[in-house]
């Protein structure tokens, strides 16, 4: 095992997960664990199975095999709403906010599963404190927000269910480098200040590894490498394939071909 699975503060434990889209096996036996208070990132190219992994964890898809444990209890057979009640919230790829509702309504939707109605307004203030721009736009229809603001809204909406674990699917998708930086700063702050454990899937390996404590690399539905973010960022394969660092300049001063991956 990668991270020590026997430690008591494991929030999420995934073992031997297999998920299919029809006859196509999208996840081929994935095991990973997320510890409390960590930011864990899952890196991988298009079609590696990252989104499927998050969807399977949050209950949108049912796994064919394998177990998902949240705080030691099996959750793989639960409905998505029950999983939200358990404290896992999924911020999907491409935001998927409600475009015709206002910002405030969108945020209120995030509290749908909550029973403690009295604290909701307090939490709304908390969300607005992290994303002041949303407060300014609270009465605007969400569909008219910019991409970055929509991403903030999606994260803010997710926060409203008081999650223990937040699954973030490509928060940097379609955002400018500056906005990406900003979103990730907020993600790190939420992790430190609100104690939200984060599991984020990213194609932008640089920002993800900067923010994360631990990382997994997925390829073709399998995990090929996992280690602390620092070790990953220093790995030759990660540098070549995910960080775009050209290894050694050759005689021609340019290189088109890639070396073979070994994941060591």
């Amino acid at each position: 095992m990668s991270q020590d699975a026997t430690q008591s503060n494991v929030v999420l434990q995934v073992d031997n997960l297999e998920s299919y889209y029809g006859p196509i096996m999208a996840i081929r036996g994935v095991s990973l664990s997320v510890q409390e208070g960590q930011i864990v990132t899952v890196l991988g190219a298009n079609g590696a199975g990252k989104t499927t992994l998050l969807k399977t964890i949050s209950g949108v898809m049912d796994p064919e095999k394998g177990t998902i444990k949240m705080d030691g209890d099996d959750i793989q057979s639960l409905e998505p709403d029950a999983i939200v009640r358990r404290g896992i919230v999924h911020v999907p790829e491409g935001r998927e906010i409600f475009p015709l509702m206002t910002v405030a309504e969108n945020i209120a939707m995030g509290a749908y599963t909550r029973k403690d109605r009295s604290n909701i307004s307090h939490d709304e203030e908390m969300v607005y404190s992290y994303f002041p721009i949303l407060k300014d736009r609270r009465l605007q229809r969400a569909g008219t927000l910019s991409g970055g603001q929509q991403q903030m809204l999606a994260i803010g909406r997710g926060l409203m269910s008081h999650p223990k674990l937040m699954l973030l699917d490509e928060p940097s998708l379609g955002l400018s480098p500056l906005l990406t930086q900003e979103i990730f700063e907020i993600i790190v702050r939420l992790n430190r200040e609100q104690k939200v454990t984060m599991m984020l899937v990213e194609q932008n390996a640089k920002v993800a590894l900067d923010a994360a404590d631990y990382g997994y690399v997925m390829e073709l539905g399998r995990i090929v490498m996992n280690d602390s973010a620092g070790v990953l960022a220093a790995s030759k394969d990660i540098q070549e394939f995910y960080l775009g660092v050209s290894q050694d300049e050759n005689q021609r001063g340019q290189r088109r071909w890639k070396q073979r991956k070994t994941w060591r």
Binding site: K65, N250, R256, W263
Partner: protein
Amino acid sequence: MTQTLPPQEKVHGLMINTDLSKGPFYIDGMDTTPKLFRKRCQNLGDRTAHREKRFGIWRSHSWDDYFTRAKYLGLGLVSMGLKPGAVVSILSEDSKEWMYTDMGVQCVGAICAGVYTTDSAVQLEYLVNNSDSRFLLVENDEQLDKFLQVRDHMPDLIKVIVINRDGLHDFKDPQIIFLDDLYRIGAAYDAANPSAFDTLIDATKPEDTAILVYTSGTTGKPKGAMISHGNLIYSVSAGLHDGPVFDTDDQLCFLPLCHILERVFSVNGPIAAASTINFAESPETIFDNLQEVSPQTFVAVPRLWEKIYSQVAIRIGDATGVQKWAYAQALKSGAARAKCLADGKPLPIGTKLAYRFWDFALLQNLRRMIGMDRLRRGGSGAAPISPDLLQWYHSIGVPVLEGYGMTESSGIISINSEIANKIGTVGPAVPGSQIRVAVDGEVQYTAGNVFQGYWKDREKTAETFTQDGWLRTGDIGTLDNQGFLTITGRLKDIIITAGGKNVTPAEIENKLKFSPYISDAVVIGDKRKFLTCLVMIDQENVEKFAQDRRVPFSNYASLCAAQEVQDLIRETVDDVNQDFARVEQIKDFRLINVLLTADDDELTPTMKLKRSFVEAKHNKLISQMY
């Protein structure tokens, strides 16, 4: 032609020597591959010689095309200074250009040497310099970069030719040209000297060296085995004698052409048999390509046969109960039929009917699924294959026959055939050859395909021959009373334990390798108190095992570390230990927990572990066990 040929006879459509024990050897009246190649191209003209996949479509290339390309390539090199007897190296994956180079170079009387694409720049430097290569063909920018890294150390190289221009359009260097330039130079030379190519082909002689094949060299530097035209003509004659290939056959080429097995089977064989070669796109697509091509005759290494079997086994494992039952019944009837055929007994009517039914209902579909519905004959070589695996293939109606050979014997020494097959042996000596077993157990061989010696290495050459001129294979084996050869190990790998017991590690290793979960193993114990071994697991099958039993793992290292996987290998080792005496039993083992690739020193290009490198690199693991 005025010379008189030795007596010839027609075998499977080819005229070859009636008596294959004496040279010179002829195929259809030709004593060198270039002459035979010219004859074939002239007769076959616009028929398809080979196919290559481009942008997802199989494209055909004619024998005319083959000849023209080889001619221009060869003459282009000649006009730039290539002399007969000089060496040209090629560093490329299998492709039609590889064959054009091979034929072009041999037709002009020069020698062609292959370099593995997995070799490093330093290895390339050694091979080019050791072989005194005057020209080097490289596949693409990636391989070109290897040359550029070490170019200063290759003073004798005249020119480097790049086959594929992609990514190099603005690249200019006086020493480097592209293949299309070479074709142009060759065409111009041909126009100016129209008879030059024919004259050069006519000048090739059976005793001339045709190719240099560097042996993987588990110890020391690689050595270049010199193989003559006569050697190759003999290998092809003897090979096709017992394993016929016809001009309607499709073949799939996927092993490196640098390897003697693929070279003889996919370049020289098809020229003689006029069959069609199809180039697999890449090592990853072999199974798809196999289905698309569905070859009539196919030679592979045990690893590939194992993989195909594993894929079927995995699918059956996930099938329904009824399907599993049907599969078991079909296998049973297939096994019964295969046993009768092997014993040479007539089929009982019940077996015949049962097989006919299951063949129709299930086995033919299974064969189609793995791309073997047209397969007449499969071959396995380059490493030992599990007898159980061969039984399985025979049961599903795919005759896979094991053979044996080495670089120094131009690829073949013995092969099993449909008429003489004994599973577990590597077959009888090929026609015209002789095998004997020396007092120390070494297999020795003499025939028309015994190589000429190592390039510029008299000492090593002398070591390879006995006093009376037989080839020392370095393998230990036995011959049974019907002349079938069984190989048990390598002579120089014999382990002498601290207790003074001689152990042939290959015997134990082969038994271990027959497990679907073990891809390769190396037994350790020379001058030590007891035997241990290092094991390389089969990733796919062990992952499947772990997945089915819900053994969590994240990557290769954690898979190897999993207790259940350790136990699984322990069980296999214990099983294998049963077959051996106490002193020959494996006391402990370690798994190599990094996924090795062909780029690693520890693996040969055919993915076998190299004992010396493994022992050196994994010293830590070994010392843990003692």
